[in-house]
């Protein structure tokens, strides 16, 4: 299964996503430059963490206009899996591929720490390899990770089982402890924590592999 890692000029977790997929998961990954109009035949897309175009405006507000995002939109519309991590989540929200918004952390500071996540649904290509209610340890590293949405959206997310992970201890003030959400079609996931930073024992946790393994289970072009 071939992964594509989108590289905006200010992406800084692109190498980490590539390393997690290529070395720790064992699947090929390639970089896709932000002004590319196509995705070059990849099976899954990762929007990595970082500061896409500096994010001096709202995070992701400029990235949504980049040429590659038109290709990502099309890919998602065709059912291709899109994983937005941290800044990638912020971009997906700005681009309208996911509902709600991400605003500054409740304490108004950048927070880097390991958090515990409760797996809320197994019914998605990003979580199907997990166990029901499984607690995963992985780090967060963001200044604007507080998830907000109106009540109706939050109710809808709950009713449609589209909250993938919730924080066990809410670090940033996110409404209803939301750490990760799915789109209606369940092929786009945005999450603030960094699964790519938890893909081998030396990183302190391998729990993030669950997300990538789920993708492989769901989307690997079947040989049989």
């Amino acid at each position: 299964m071939k992964f594509g890692v989108i590289v905006f000029p200010g992406s800084n977790c692109d190498h980490d996503a590539w390393f997690a997929v290529n070395r720790n998961l064992g699947h090929p990954a390639e970089y896709i430059w932000h002004d590319s109009p196509t995705l070059g035949g990849v099976d899954a897309v990762i929007l990595p963490g970082g500061f896409a175009y500096g994010d001096y405006l709202r995070c992701g507000a400029i990235a949504k206009f980049s040429p590659v995002m038109a290709a990502v939109r099309k890919f998602a519309a065709e059912g291709g899996p899109v994983l937005g991590i941290c800044n990638g989540f912020q971009i997906l929200v700005e681009a309208g591929l996911l509902p709600g918004a991400l605003i500054r952390n409740r304490n108004l500071k950048f927070i880097c720490r390991e958090v515990r996540l409760r797996t809320e649904t197994l019914d998605s290509p990003f979580t199907s390899a997990a166990e029901r209610g499984q607690i995963l340890r992985m780090p967060i590293a963001h200044g604007e990770g507080c998830y907000i949405a109106d009540e109706r959206t939050l109710d809808e997310l709950a009713a449609e089982d589209r909250v993938a992970f919730r924080y066990v201890e809410n670090p940033n003030g996110s409404m209803r402890d939301i750490a990760a959400i799915l789109n209606g079609r369940r092929n786009v996931l945005g999450l603030m924590p960094h699964p790519e930073r938890a893909t081998e024992p030396l990183m302190g946790s391998s729990d993030g592999l669950v997300v990538f393994r789920s993708l492989v289970m769901a989307f690997q072009p079947t040989a049989a």
């Binding site: 000029p9 800084n12 500061f51 927070i111 880097c112 930073r197």
Partner: protein, 738 residues
């Protein structure tokens, strides 16, 4: 050339001495123009020329078998094996951080990162050594709290966006930093050995190319500001502080590394202090060439800038490079891809001169070598540092050891700095094996199976009592921190923060500290490959204590590191190095003296370097043999604080001693050469220690949820870990709230 008359007043305003001005006239064979005067003033400032310290810095060891590049380039370079090298250096940004904490600290990070990637190395770690006035200072407390918060936010802003992990450092509080906070930033990068780049302008006729941000009027005379004392007017110097753009720096990093791969780049240097001036004349001087530039071609943010302003601007995120003639387009193409300005502004010449034109007219013409390397050299008068009173400790009310321990755990220097380091992305690049809070930070190099351990250390209380011994103790502690995680120290960088060198007693401190550093670095085989001197750290005539900060890097095979916390109950606890000794005189610089007695006297703890080195060797072997389940070195606060810190992960300890030392000395003396280890194989540890002639008494056993310390029949400490944790973790945030 400009006809503005050069008056003695104008010369003085540029902080040039009369003798220095005469030297300028003799180099040029004429009076300088206004622009030339500005150029000389920044290049010959203390900050750029090291004119007060250079004579003494020559005494430092700089060579070693792994050292590829010592002082004199943008960063030192060390071979780490497998075809890879690391580039690293520490820099101060003290003065700007006092005037504008957020941007001052942010641009400090930006400056040192450019020093690293200009050599072709991708930055993979940053550490910070911070010094502030006390947060609860009756007068300066509110300002100190604001400075700390601004500095930390600035470091986070720049490092997090750039994408380099901030993996460690230190943060210390003393009243001498009330008007003079210290912000020392260390950065380290990795490169393939054959991909190292140097800041040399070679090849007559090669184009000189300017890349990165446009030049504005910001930061003019920053280098001179950093070479003067602060007065009441200093707050008006805010325009001298630059504004950082970490996103632009990230683009510059990627573009430079990519452009270097084309093979079309001959030499490259960042524009840091003294901007375009420094980068042109230093590259020319190192290459033995001249450089000719036309200022009309320099990308400018503002209109109507004078040659003086363009040459002295310290706008951030700019680089100067020399490309191979005819291959400019390969370079331009890379920079275009990253959306950056890149323009040819001149060429390398054979005449050794820095020739600056504006509108085609020559506005400055100065020999590169004289400008860059012939700055006046001063052997400033220095007096032996004054001996502090050697009197025994002042009379004081006895304090229960338990109360003293909890007070120390809550004190600024010792308490958890989580409030600070959680604001830093310490994991980006997924190489961080040990991050903030560990004895030494560890980052792996994915490509070659080697990990780099790093520690920044400095103790200004020791330095105040004895600049020489204080410097040696800093080196010893830094090496001990590396040994504790199993790493072999290989090289060092230093940041020397002192007051006004024109005062003989301050100069005396500097000379003594350099001698101490030299002796210790020679002994521990850690050549100094570069660094920084920050003088004039004075406000209203009040100088800081001598604060040499040493950063030492070590090598180790990549593996899960040994960490501080006890791991499981029922393990033996060994005090590698033994209890050590102490007397009244050697107790006066301790945290106990500072926090509990509120005094400072005598001498720093006694250091036996030979013994210290044996402890390190034994420790490394213990780690390599997989015998240590946990390890933590004893430093600030001594034995009791170290033991308490080892318990904070949840597993406690019962320690029992049979010592003649008084409870204060036993628990809180800060004698070096000691490491607390927990192990399931105490006999093997003891055997290894004995082979190095190092004491390794078994002092207790790990247990659940409490810390108990007894000496003979007396219980000195009995505390629940939860309550110790609450005190240790909550203190800094509480102090910042008040």
């Amino acid at each position: 050339m400009s006809t503005l008359a050069i008056t003695p007043d104008l010369v003085a305003q540029h902080q040039l001495a009369e003798s220095e001005y005469r030297k300028i006239v003799s180099i040029l064979g004429r009076e300088p123009s206004y622009t030339e005067l500005g150029i000389f003033s920044v290049m010959w400032s203390e900050h750029c020329s090291y004119k007060s310290s250079r004579l003494h810095l020559k005494k430092l060891p700089t060579r070693g078998k792994l050292v590829v590049q010592g002082p004199g380039e943008n960063a030192g370079i060390v071979d780490v094996g497998g075809g890879y090298v690391i580039a690293f250096k520490i820099e101060s940004h003290n003065h700007p951080s006092f005037i504008e904490p957020f941007q001052g600290a942010a641009t400090g990070v930006g400056g040192i990162l450019r020093d690293i990637f200009t050599m072709g190395a991708r930055p993979i770690a940053v550490l910070d050594s911070l010094r502030f006035g006390p947060l609860d200072d009756p007068q300066a407390g509110p300002r100190n709290r604001r400075i700390l918060q601004g500095v930390v936010a600035g470091i986070a802003h720049y490092g997090n966006c750039f994408g380099v992990p901030t993996v460690g450092g230190e943060c210390v509080f003393e009243p001498c930093y009330n008007g003079n906070p210290l912000v020392n930033v260390f950065a380290l990068g990795v490169a393939k050995k054959e991909d190292i780049f140097y800041a040399r302008a070679a090849g007559i006729g090669n184009p000189v190319i300017y890349v990165g941000a446009k030049t504005g009027r910001d930061g003019i005379h920053g280098a001179s500001m950093a070479s003067a004392e602060f007065t009441e007017e200093s707050k008006q110097k805010r325009p001298n502080v630059q504004v950082g753009d970490p996103f632009l720096e990230k683009l510059l990093l990627e573009a430079c590394l990519e452009a270097m791969q084309t093979g079309a780049i001959v030499g490259i240097q960042d524009m840091g202090a003294a901007g375009l001036t420094c980068s042109t004349c230093e590259m020319g001087s190192r290459g033995g060439t001249g450089i000719e530039i036309e200022l009309d071609l320099v990308p400018q943010r503002e209109t109507g800038m004078t040659p003086y302003e363009i040459m002295l601007s310290e706008s951030q995120e700019r680089m100067l490079l020399v490309a191979a003639k005819g291959r400019e387009d390969e370079v331009f193409q890379v920079f275009r891809k990253w959306g950056l300005d890149a323009v040819t502004i001149g060429q390398v010449t054979a005449d050794g001169l820095l020739r600056v034109r504006q509108h085609g007219e020559v506005v400055a013409e100065i020999p590169n070598r004289e400008l860059a390397d012939e700055a006046p050299l001063y052997d400033r008068p220095h007096s032996a540092p004054p001996c502090r009173p050697l009197a025994p400790s002042p009379a004081h009310e006895p304090v229960s050891p338990q109360a003293a321990l909890t007070t120390l755990l809550a004190s600024g220097d010792i308490c958890s700095k989580r409030y600070i380091w959680e604001q830093y992305d310490y994991q980006v690049r997924t190489n961080t094996l040990a991050g903030p809070g560990a004895d030494a930070a560890i980052v792996r190099i994915k490509e070659n199976g080697v990990s780099i351990a790093m520690s920044l250390d400095g103790n200004s209380r020791y330095g105040y009592l004895s600049p020489r011994e204080g410097a040696m103790l800093a080196v010893a502690e830094s090496c001990r921190n590396l040994a504790t995680v199993g790493a072999q120290p290989v090289a060092a960088t230093n940041c020397l923060n002192f007051g006004n060198p024109e005062r003989p007693e301050i100069m005396g401190q500097l000379v003594a500290a350099i001698e101490g550093l030299g002796e210790a670095c020679r002994f521990f085989d850690t050549p100094i490959t570069g660094g920084n001197v920050s003088l004039y750290n004075e406000t209203l005539g009040e100088g800081i204590w001598p604060t040499p900060v040493i950063g030492i890097v070590g090598l180790m095979p990549t593996a899960a590191p040994v960490t501080r916390d006890f791991k499981a109950p029922g393990r033996s606890i060994i005090l590698l190095g033994g209890l050590g000794d102490c007397d009244e005189m050697r107790f006066g610089g301790t945290q106990y003296a500072k926090v509990i007695l509120k005094e400072l006297w005598g001498l720093p703890p006694a250091l036996d370097m030979d013994y210290e080195k044996r402890v390190h060797a034994a420790m490394r072997e213990i780690v390599a043999a997989g015998l240590a389940e946990s390890a933590h070195d004893l430093s600030d606060g001594g034995l009791a604080v170290a033991a308490a810190e080892c318990c904070l992960g949840g597993v406690g300890a019962a320690l029992h001693f049979e010592s003649d030392l008084s409870p204060e000395f036993l628990l809180f003396h800060e004698g070096p050469s000691r490491i607390l280890i927990s192990t399931a194989n105490p006999d093997s540890v003891a055997e290894l220690a004995a082979r190095h002639a190092v004491e390794a008494p078994r002092v207790g056993i790990t247990m659940n949820s409490a810390l108990a310390i007894r000496n003979r029949d007396a219980t000195l400490v009995i505390a629940k870990i939860d309550s110790l944790n609450a005190i240790y973790e909550g203190s800094l945030a509480n102090q910042l709230r008040s």
